[in-house]
């Protein structure tokens, strides 16, 4: 028998040579308009000021459409339309019929899912894989889920008669534009309210496509109104005296301004704000799975996720191993054209946000943390950021305390459970947390003691219409999703 000559195979070389052929999603079936108007009282109308603003594709920096800049006068029109629709139509409609409208919207969104996904990627810079497989299906499902609640509200809150609130003013962020619109509109309608929604200024397009779908669905005029614009447009909604409810998702700073503005008005308020969520990995965790979970936790949607697992806590005994695996994994992540189906990390949503992220990376370096960035090349055009790790981060570091909202992970180590619980909870935020361990009793110990509204054990960044989402402490109050999400849009009828 001939002796096998053992030939040394090279170790995995992640520095190149693993390129996939480009596989861009076609945009040919998407016909964007040059200009999008406001959707008020069942009609697409020009803003009273005549002003429009541009929305750009952050991956190419090219302007893709003009969008109406809604003013206080437009908001007033929208609120009046919503009030009229509430009083004359929507609150008089039987709950079953109300539900059927919402079902119809869900179905029409499903029909147009691919178009919505492509436009979401063009406008927000998120990867097509994510908008196609996560954002859009979840948005459709959210409508589908809440549609069924419309005629079952009497079962949601035992021994209470609940009624709708009236006009709901809703302000949503740019990180999940269509999904956040669904999270806001679907439960509001199911509970019997009418809506004035303001999308974020950098990502208004899918909300306007949703307006077209809603229009096509035959939903009575004024039940849903969508007013695009900037912060002042949102402020006009918050301060409008005839709005009964404010729902806001966004930064903690703006949330505090809204909480103050609403004080004493009797408006019902829910806030879904920022986070600095801990992702904790113990030495008995399935390390490879955990590394995937860490990557998904912080790099999903370019880290533009309020519940991003942005603070990693690794048990000391496995820290070297985990950090090495993370570095290796970072090198394999594809950063680039969001429309390419191979891309893992797309474009940063806006130039402003990129500036913020870069500022924090500089702060991290100045604070003495060790930085590791992927060696990948970034596209020449567009707003991109390399996936970044900070090692040797102090608990008091600003990068470990403040929300960065980008693909930047801080890594700290720990020895004991008590230590990591204390470190994880040592933040003004309380939105989410992750735990990775094979030990069931330890999971329940941790999930009980972590002061956060959502705890993912051996998984991360999972969402579902049936699953309530929302934070403790300065991450806001109220829940969205599930039975408990209905409570945000109902009042006890005494």
């Amino acid at each position: 028998m001939a002796k096998n000559k053992h030939k040394e195979t090279p170790a995995f070389d992640f520095s190149g040579g693993w390129d996939y052929s480009p596989s861009p999603e076609s945009t040919s079936h998407v016909q964007l308009k040059k200009r999008y108007d406001l959707y008020i009282d069942g009609k697409f109308v020009a803003p009273t000021s005549g002003k429009y603003f541009e929305t750009t594709n952050p991956a190419t920096e090219k302007v893709i459409a003009e969008v109406a800049y809604g003013s206080e006068a437009d908001v007033d029109k929208a609120v009046k339309a919503a009030r009229k629709a509430y009083e004359t139509v929507w609150s008089k409609l039987s709950a079953k019929e109300r539900g059927k409208y919402i079902y119809r919207i869900a179905r029409m969104m499903q029909e147009k899912a691919r178009e919505l996904a492509v436009v979401e990627t063009l406008d927000a810079g998120k990867t097509i894989r994510e908008s196609r497989d996560v954002d859009v299906p979840l948005a459709c499902n959210h409508f589908f889920y809440y549609a069924g609640w419309a005629d079952k509200l009497d079962y949601a809150f035992p021994n209470r008669k609940m009624t709708s609130l009236g006009v709901a003013g809703q302000i949503i962020p740019w990180n999940f534009p269509l999904l956040m619109a669904a999270w806001k509109i679907a439960p509001a309608l199911a509970a019997g309210n009418t809506v004035v929604l303001k999308p974020a200024e950098t990502t208004p397009l899918t909300a306007m496509l949703l307006a077209e779908i809603i229009h096509e669905s035959g939903l009575p005029a004024g039940v849903v109104n969508i007013v695009t614009g900037y912060g002042d447009t949102g402020a006009a909604i918050v301060n409008h005296p005839d709005v009964n409810k404010i729902a806001f998702t966004g930064s903690t700073n703006v949330g505090k301004l809204i909480q103050k503005a609403v004080a004493g008005t009797g408006k019902k308020l829910t806030l879904e704000l920022g986070g600095k969520s801990a992702n904790i990995i113990f030495d008995d965790a399935p390390i490879d799975q955990a590394v995937e979970g860490i990557v998904n936790g912080i790099f999903f949607n370019q880290g533009h996720v309020c519940c991003a697992g942005s603070r990693l806590f690794v048990q000391e005994s496995v820290a070297d191993q985990v950090i090495q695996k993370l570095k290796d994994r970072l090198e394999t992540l594809y950063v680039g054209d969001p429309l390419d189906k191979n891309t893992d990390i797309g474009a940063i949503n806006s130039k402003n946000q990129l500036t913020t992220i870069r500022k924090y990376i500089e702060i991290g370096k100045q604070e003495g943390a060790t930085i590791f960035e992927s060696s990948c090349a970034l596209p020449k055009k567009g707003y991109f950021c390399k996936p970044t790790l900070f090692i040797d981060v102090a608990q008091s570091s600003r990068i470990a305390q403040e929300e960065i909202f980008g693909p930047v992970l801080t890594i700290q180590t720990f020895r004991t459970i008590d230590e990591v619980i204390q470190k994880a909870n040592n933040t003004p935020y309380g939105l989410a947390a992750g735990v990775w361990t094979d030990k069931g009793s330890r999971i329940f110990n941790l999930t009980t003691k972590l002061r956060a509204g959502v705890v993912w054990a051996n998984t991360y960044n999972k969402f579902d219409p049936t699953s309530p989402f929302g934070g403790y402490k300065e991450s806001g109050f109220g829940r969205e999703g599930g039975l408990h999400g209905l409570g945000a849009y109902l009042k006890v009828d005494n």
């Binding site: 499902n141 505090k256 004493g264 509204g453 579902d464 403790y472 402490k473």
Partner: protein
């Protein structure tokens, strides 16, 4: 010779102790005839801060006790109050009630404590959910206490209002700092003595006496109070709380209920100061969906 009555010193209740206010100040509420009721501590902002420290310290172990144990301790409060019925009736009469009304109020207070004692180990069952997510995960949501709750008790009631706002808060595992009615504070201090003799750990309930106008802003802006219940009936104070709450995104709950009404009790008073936690864990499908068991 007639015996000289021993007058009671009304002190405040912080961390299971009965100190006087650190400020050394006091005020004198009067009865309907204009006779002084007692000299009562005029609590300061420093007293409030001390009380919050005590409440925070007590929160960990109180919230981690079994719901069954919390239930038993709450029931014990009712037992202790029952034993002091006459004292409370006398105090209520002293503060302007009739004997019949006072007896009714004490009865209702005792029964309401028993009512909430019973909810301790039941409300999470009623309001929790296993959520049928579409992915392969086990997902459930349940309530957890919000933390340290500030309570500004109803001004128009000495006992039943106080009991109605404290019991749902502690039944749910929170600890609290309470400001009693300014003009009707006597029962609050005596209720603190009941709490102190009923196995309730020190610091779970802390009771201050004094003026809302002096302390309302501090309740709103204190960084280590997680939620405030306002039942004082002053809309300006409610607004001040809501505006002050932004410093740490505090939850503010305003009650305008008439707690003397026997129907004004339900588990939603408990869930008002609870946080909903949702937990996810993957499910491994070894046998596959066609398993026959």
């Amino acid at each position: 010779m007639e015996r000289l009555e021993i007058l009671k010193t009304y002190k405040i209740y912080i961390g299971g102790q009965f100190p006087r206010t650190e400020s050394g100040r006091y005020y004198t509420p009067f009865d309907k005839k204009g006779q002084p009721l007692a000299n009562v501590c005029l609590s300061s902002r420093k007293d409030l801060r001390n009380a919050v420290v005590a409440a925070r310290k007590a929160f960990g172990s109180w919230s981690e006790r079994s719901a069954f144990n919390r239930s038993q301790i709450c029931y014990r409060i009712a037992e202790m109050l029952e034993g002091r019925r006459d004292q409370f009736i006398a105090e209520l009469v002293k503060q302007g009630s009739t004997t019949t009304k006072a007896a009714q109020e004490v009865n209702l207070a005792i029964d309401r404590i028993v009512y909430y004692a019973g909810w301790c180990d039941k409300f999470t069952q009623v309001f929790s959910a296993v959520n049928p997510v579409a992915s392969s995960h086990f997902n459930f949501s349940t309530y957890e206490p919000t933390g340290v709750v500030g309570i500004l008790a109803p001004q128009d009631s000495s006992l039943i209002g106080l009991v109605s706002v404290i019991m749902p808060v502690i039944a749910g595992g929170n600890t609290c700092v309470v400001l009693a009615s300014e003009q009707l504070p006597l029962c609050a201090v005596t209720f603190a003595e009941v709490l102190n003799s009923s196995d309730l750990p020190g610091g779970v309930v802390n009771i201050l006496t004094g003026k809302e106008t002096e302390l309302v802003d501090q309740f709103g802006s204190h960084m280590d109070i997680n939620a405030v219940i306002y039942a004082g009936g002053n809309t300006d104070h409610a607004t001040a709380l809501e505006a002050g709450a932004v410093v740490n995104v505090k939850r503010i709950v305003v009650y305008t209920h008439n707690f003397a009404d026997a129907t004004q009790e339900n588990p939603y008073f408990i869930t008002d100061v609870q946080e909903l936690k949702t937990t996810w864990h993957p499910i491994e499908h070894v046998g596959g969906a066609t398993s026959s068991y």
